[in-house]
């Protein structure tokens, strides 16, 4: 897994490439904990280059979404397609997150 972060105005866009599993989830957790450390922040997670995600990864995403809820922050997912969308659907996760299509939509939704 590779994480690439870009700041667009007030919005932090974190792009994930590769796989999120029990081996790589801790690095994502560390990054999102840093990003969502303050209140009222705006974070977009771009999953368009994600190959798959296991429950270890969903745990991190759920913790991040709960954290954002509690701190008045925005946590938006974009690029959720193919196999990854299927896994979101399987776990009943699609309704739990703000999910938009493209990266630009994510940035707009987070603002």
């Amino acid at each position: 897994m590779d994480l690439r972060e870009e700041k667009i105005g007030e919005v932090s866009v974190v792009g994930v490439t590769g796989r999120i599993d029990s081996s790589t989830a801790p690095a994502l957790e560390k990054r999102l904990t840093e990003n969502l450390g303050a209140a009222q922040v705006r974070v977009v997670l771009d999953l368009s280059r994600l190959e798959y995600i296991s429950s270890a990864g969903f745990r991190i995403l759920l913790l991040a979404a709960k954290r954002a809820d509690e701190t008045g922050s925005r946590f938006v997912l974009c690029g959720v397609g193919g196999k990854v969308r299927q896994l979101f659907d399987l776990g009943g996760f699609l309704d739990l997150f703000t999910i938009v299509g493209a990266r630009e939509d994510g940035i707009a939704a987070a603002q």
Binding site: R19, D21, S22, S23, E51, Y52, I53, S54, S55, A56, F58, R59, L62, L63, A65, K66, D69, K83, L87, L90, G91, G92, F93, D95, L96
Partner: protein
């Protein structure tokens, strides 16, 4: 058939991931099939290393992959406490974010992603067999 032995530590999983990638390439299996097997294996190996052992000793876990009659099969053997994942009830996947547990979907993923899951306890060993059709 390929086989690998790892010890019960998360840092060992990367070797299984690499082996499955190579096995998938060698057998020309679709990336979606391999992805499903990767997720299922991550769930199973995580469960074993987290919950199967009551001591702090190192234990070997054996994993074998083979393709037979258009089915990709993974056999996972561990000498932890008896645990049949087929007996675990499905998680609640309908509650809103606030009430949703952040865990508990691992075994459910395994059951849903695989076409068949079989469990056997033989002596001191758990055998879990994950099967995924390669032609759908």
């Amino acid at each position: 058939m390929v086989e690998i032995a790892i010890v019960n530590r998360g840092s060992e999983f990367a070797r299984v991931v690499a082996l499955l990638d190579q096995f998938g390439k060698d057998h020309h299996l679709a990336p979606e099939i391999i992805a499903d097997m990767h997720v299922a294996l991550d769930e199973v190996l995580t469960n074993i290393t987290k919950y199967a052992y009551t001591d702090n000793a190192e234990h070997e876990i054996h994993i074998r992959f083979r393709v037979l009659d258009n089915v990709l099969e993974a056999v996972i053997e561990d000498d932890g406490m008896p645990f049949n994942p087929l007996t675990i009830p499905p998680p609640d996947i309908s509650s809103p974010l606030r009430d949703r547990s952040v865990g508990g979907v691992g075994i459910y993923f395994v059951a849903r992603l695989m076409d068949d899951v079989a469990y056997e306890r033989r002596g001191d060993t758990n055998y879990l067999i994950l099967s995924k059709k390669t032609n759908d």
